[in-house]
């Protein structure tokens, strides 16, 4: 009589017994393991077959390339491109470089054209007869400085009639108080130096009022200073012509130049007043 082998309670009744190797693992079979009829060797368990499969794959897989700097870290392996937008990035870089160089050349061209139109040096001046502008002159910077030095001592020409004329022609209270004591002539103020350079102002007094203001020296050692002063000095000159005094407002962005301008302008006005007193 056949007696069934002892069985343990099945922990997973839904699992097929032949899912792994065709045998119930809970059955202790007295028979040897089944033999593969073709290989003439016992049928391997699933674990053994998986181990053999892994060994075959490891043998047939090409060796992995050593990680490089472009594929290191999370980008290693997987065949991902290190820079999906590499072409766009290269284009952006080339465009940026070309724009930088091209724009620099274009700005230089504009600067050359502007310099040719305005002359080699600038003497910023203004007068009451016209608008205050940056006028070009044919003199160079060195000759302008030399001429300024010369006019410092020779420009005073006080006349006796200027006080009366200025008093009668001054139509504003400011002009009446500040310009009535000025003698006609051209007066050059002291040179005031600030951290950016010297500032020197020259005024022309006609009929007792300031009719022209020239800035014969201003910081022009660098392009930034030239640019700032070309904007600031006309405003300062306009303000001086309107106020007929050194009481001018500071131009934003040109604080030092404004301060030096006031000092030099005041010294020029003082010279005109002293000439009137002496005359």
């Amino acid at each position: 009589m056949h007696t069934p082998s002892p069985r343990l309670p099945d922990p997973d009744p839904g699992r097929l017994h032949d899912e792994r190797d065709g045998r119930d693992p809970h059955v202790t079979s007295p028979w040897p393991a089944p033999v593969d009829p073709l290989l003439r060797r016992p049928t391997a368990t699933a674990d053994e077959r998986l181990a053999r499969l892994a060994a075959r794959r490891a043998a047939t897989r090409p060796p992995e390339a050593p990680p490089t700097s472009r594929t290191a870290g999370s980008r290693a392996g997987g065949g991902r491109r290190p820079h999906p937008a590499g072409n766009a990035r290269a284009s952006a870089l080339a465009l940026s470089l070309a724009t930088t160089v091209g724009m620099a050349a274009y700005l230089q061209h504009l600067d050359t054209v502007a310099a040719a139109a305005e002359g080699a040096s600038l003497t910023i001046s203004g007068s009451t007869s016209g608008s205050t502008t940056a006028n070009s002159t044919a003199t160079t910077a060195t000759t302008a400085t030399t001429a300024t030095t010369a006019t410092t001592t020779a420009a005073t020409e006080p006349t006796a009639a200027t006080d009366t004329a200025a008093a009668t022609t001054a139509d504003t209270a400011v002009a009446a108080t500040s310009a009535s004591a000025l003698a006609d002539g051209t007066y050059t103020g002291d040179t005031d130096r600030n951290k950016w350079g010297p500032v020197q102002v020259q005024i022309t007094v006609t009929d007792g009022s300031i009719t022209s203001v020239d800035v014969v020296q201003y910081p022009d050692d660098d392009r930034k200073s030239v640019q700032i002063n070309q904007r600031a000095l006309p405003a300062l000159i306009e303000s001086a012509l309107q106020s007929q005094s050194a009481d001018v407002d500071t131009v934003s962005g040109a604080t030092y130049t404004s301060d030096s301008y006031r000092i030099s302008l005041q010294s020029a006005i003082d010279a005109a007043r002293a000439a009137a007193t002496a005359g």
């Binding site: 820079h83 999906p84 937008a85 590499g86 766009a88 990035r89 952006a92 870089l93 940026s96 724009t99 930088t100 160089v101 091209g102 724009m103 620099a104 050349a105 700005l107 230089q108 600067d111 951290k195 950016w196 050692d221 660098d222 392009r223 930034k224 200073s225 640019q227 962005g253 040109a254 604080t255 030092y256």
Partner: protein
């Protein structure tokens, strides 16, 4: 040489500003999922990183050429905010913008070493940095007033504003609470006619 530096610092400053705005716009479009389907997100991310690096490089070029252009400013005035004696606000904003760009870009390279919240807080500095760079350019730019400069400024404002608006709209939509599910009784109260009959029949 000084002339070359002078023109290069003007052009490199403009290019750096354009790159900063382009990087910020790219990042805003990417983070707002508004990049479309033509390109993969990795493409936009890679472009964003590249533009950020270029923006930092051209900012450095702008600083170097500005120092070499004999503008009357020293290293202290360039690198220390508030140290400039003239145009203090403009120089300060420029220095802060440069620091902001450098911080945002360099902390994005080792991003994985930072906590995401820390990285995100640092990365959000890109917006004020871009604004500071723009104000710096408007206050100190030598070509302010030129037509091309005005048009470029308007274009950059538009390029930066549009993705920012999309991003903010996306944030607002995500934070808006979803309408609560209506209970059957509420449905019955809002239903009428045959619908009410159907709701009642379903109980």
């Amino acid at each position: 040489m000084t002339d070359l530096m002078w023109f290069l610092t003007r052009s490199s400053g403009v290019v750096a500003l354009v790159l900063i705005v382009a990087t910020v716009a790219d990042g805003l479009m990417f983070s707002g999922r508004n990049t479309g389907t033509r390109r993969r997100p990795a493409w936009w991310m890679d472009l964003h990183r590249g533009l950020g690096g270029y923006a930092l490089a051209f900012t450095g070029l702008h600083l170097v050429t500005a120092y070499g252009a004999d503008l009357g400013v020293g290293l202290t005035e360039v690198f220390v905010p508030g140290a400039a004696s003239s145009s203090t606000t403009a120089y300060t904003l420029g220095a802060l913008a440069a620091y902001g760009v450098a911080l945002v870009v360099t902390t994005s390279w080792p991003k994985r070493r930072l906590r995401r919240r820390t990285w995100h807080a640092l990365h959000a500095l890109s917006l004020p940095a871009a604004v500071a760079a723009g104000v710096h350019a408007l206050q100190l730019g030598s070509d302010v007033g030129a037509t091309w400069y005005t048009l470029l400024t308007l274009a950059l404002v538009a390029i930066g504003t549009y993705p920012l608006a999309l991003r903010l709209l996306g944030i607002v939509r995500r934070r808006r609470p979803e309408p609560a599910m209506r209970r059957p009784t509420e449905v019955a109260e809002h239903a009428s006619g045959d619908e009410r009959v159907l709701v009642g029949a379903g109980r």
